[in-house]
């Protein structure tokens, strides 16, 4: 650990890592909602062959809604609150989908692999498949 060359390598790698994180943050922040573009929140179920749309919300400021998605493990609750959506609760063990938090930008997503659910924000012009 005392080797100065090794310390240099560590510092370089840490710097590289921080730079990538910063770049990633910039990339994510670049996605802005364009004016006059309306957003949709789509709930998909994941099957072996691909994904299937089960529920579609048009996001608008005054909308407040809870939606119960039924997956193989149980019920995932999706909360729509104005222009943002989130997975409120999920029966899965790892809770990754809840940790995604509020979604409000196009292409934001939250996925729950154990319960086979995908929640994506799409702009209204994209045709859902």
């Amino acid at each position: 650990m005392k080797d100065p060359k090794k310390v240099l390598v560590i510092l370089l790698l840490v710097f590289l890592g921080l730079a990538f994180i910063y770049g990633g943050k910039l990339l994510m922040a670049k996605r802005k909602v364009k004016e006059q573009e309306y957003l949709k929140a789509n709930v998909y179920t994941l099957t072996g062959a691909g994904r299937k749309l089960v529920k579609e919300f048009n996001l608008s400021t005054e909308k407040k809604e809870l939606y119960n998605y039924e997956g193989p493990l149980g019920i995932t609750i999706v909360e729509v609150d104005g222009l943002r959506v989130r997975v409120k609760s999920s029966p899965c063990p790892d809770q990754v989908c809840v940790q995604f938090g509020w979604l409000s930008l196009p292409n934001d997503f939250s996925a729950c692999l154990p319960n086979a659910m995908l929640l994506v924000i799409e702009d209204g012009k994209t045709i859902a498949n």
């Binding site: 650990m1 090794k6 390598v9 560590i10 790698l13 840490v14 590289l16 890592g17 921080l18 730079a19 990538f20 994180i21 910063y22 770049g23 990633g24 943050k25 990339l27 994510m28 996605r31 994941l46 691909g50 994904r51 063990p93 790892d94 809770q95 990754v96 989908c97 940790q99 995604f100 292409n107 934001d108 997503f109 939250s110 996925a111 692999l113 154990p114 086979a116 995908l118 994506v120």
Partner: protein
């Protein structure tokens, strides 16, 4: 190599490492990940890395193979989609680390090997996830995850160096005296 892989000591060491890796894998799944959903420290990778250093490439591959099966069994996600993500990550990172450790000059540097393993791990997971989810929005996470895995890779590499320095002499890697 053949003699070495058949010896009892190698088998016992490998079994212990698989056990440690499986438990770390399962415990890590319980800890919530803060900066990016699904991102983890990669503690289970320490066992693979130590196995790679003291037993060689095939043992390391075996360790990561078995630990993703046993860890999946513990976590209750065996053969589910989450299992395939961890499986792809574990195998590809073991392959990449085995390859890098053969490279001259940098192969001996555990930190570098660990960083390569961590980056390969997250890359493989993103590829599997974008296939499973059928959604390309996940690629936005790639630079972020790459940076994060560089940091965790450095950390795991340092941990492994410390652990290997503490191992009893009979378990130390042979013909490898750079420390």
């Amino acid at each position: 190599m053949v003699n070495k892989s058949r010896s009892l000591r190698t088998q016992v060491t490998m079994a212990v490492l698989i056990g440690i890796a499986s438990i770390l894998h399962a415990v890590e799944g319980l800890v919530p990940s803060l900066p990016v959903p699904g991102a983890k420290l990669g503690l289970a990778n320490t066992a693979t890395l130590i196995g790679l250093r003291i037993l060689g490439f095939w043992a390391a591959l075996g360790i990561s193979l078995f630990r993703s099966f046993i860890g999946g069994l513990f976590g209750g996600s065996l053969f589910g989609p989450a299992f395939f993500m961890s499986f792809a990550g574990a195998i590809s990172s073991a392959l990449a680390m085995g390859f890098v450790s053969k490279v001259k000059n940098i192969g001996n540097n555990l930190i570098f090997v660990s960083v390569i393993g961590a980056i390969t791990h997250s890359l493989a997971q993103i590829m599997v996830a974008s296939k499973l989810l059928n959604h390309s929005g996940i690629w936005y996470y790639l630079p972020f995850l790459t940076g994060l895995s560089t940091l965790t890779g450095v950390f795991i590499g340092i941990v492994c160096e410390k652990v290997i320095a503490l191992l009893p002499a009979t378990m130390k890697p042979e013909g490898n005296s750079q420390n």
